[in-house]
Symmetry: C2
DNA sequence: ACAAGTACTTACCCTAAAGTATGTATCAAT
DNA sequence: ATTGATACATACTTTAGGGTAAGTACTTGT
């Protein structure tokens, strides 16, 4: 997952605006193209890794686990692995993740309104 | 503003998920780090270019006008220029831009809740 | 013996997004 | 004549994000 350069100006600018602006803070947590999409899928209940892949066909496996990992470390989703084989892994929203529901719904509703349902 | 390569796989994947998922559609319109921040600033009323710069100190001028232009072509903000010198240019939310208010408020509120106000 | 299913991991490469730095036009005031 | 203010523009470079392709581990079914 290739570490980020802490010292880059890019990162500094982000850090600064995060502490100053709530919107900026949120965009860092759930910004990017895929994270909100994944979270939106998990809003309808826990899903297995393979289910998520099917639900979001255009995402690559790399992106999917990469973001799932990030969402875990950000305490937005919880991973549960059954010690069986073949593996059975489910992902679900954490409490904090669930608190994003209004945000994701607001986003989705606006999207529907713009694209004409 | 360097044209994008329409044929890139990256773009294709985006296009596909945009049409399939409302969240993905929205992230393309107001995704990225700066666009929501700019829109959030404009929620409190029209602002001059220089006022926006002061309100978002960490953004570079390049990013600011680049995104302002994009937001214009996406019909989210309206630019008004008085034919005077020195220039007097104001930006404000369009009708569609104003319809983003619930989305941006939901985002900001969540941000406040997470960071502890 | 080996193919299939599941959930990853890793190495390599490419590109869009962002930053840096500098330049432009116009007029008023000093 | 030079400075200042305002709202940009443009060339160049860096970097984070994303894509491609291939491999791993473990067991059940054939």
């Amino acid at each position: 997952m290739t570490a980020i350069k802490e010292s880059s100006t890019r990162n500094e600018n982000k850090e600064m605006s995060i502490s100053a602006c709530p919107v900026s803070y949120v965009m860092n947590k759930i910004g990017g193209h895929w994270k909100p999409v994944i979270l939106y899928q998990l809003m309808s209940g826990p899903k297995r890794y393979s289910e998520l892949r099917k639900a979001i066909p255009t995402i690559t496996e790399k992106m999917l686990i990469q973001h799932l990992k990030q969402l875990q470390t950000d305490d937005l989703v919880i991973r549960t692995a059954e010690p069986v084989v073949p593996p059975f892994v489910t992902y679900k929203l954490s409490k904090v993740g669930e608190s994003l529901t209004p945000v994701l719904n607001a986003i989705a509703n606006w999207g529907y309104a713009q694209t004409g349902r």
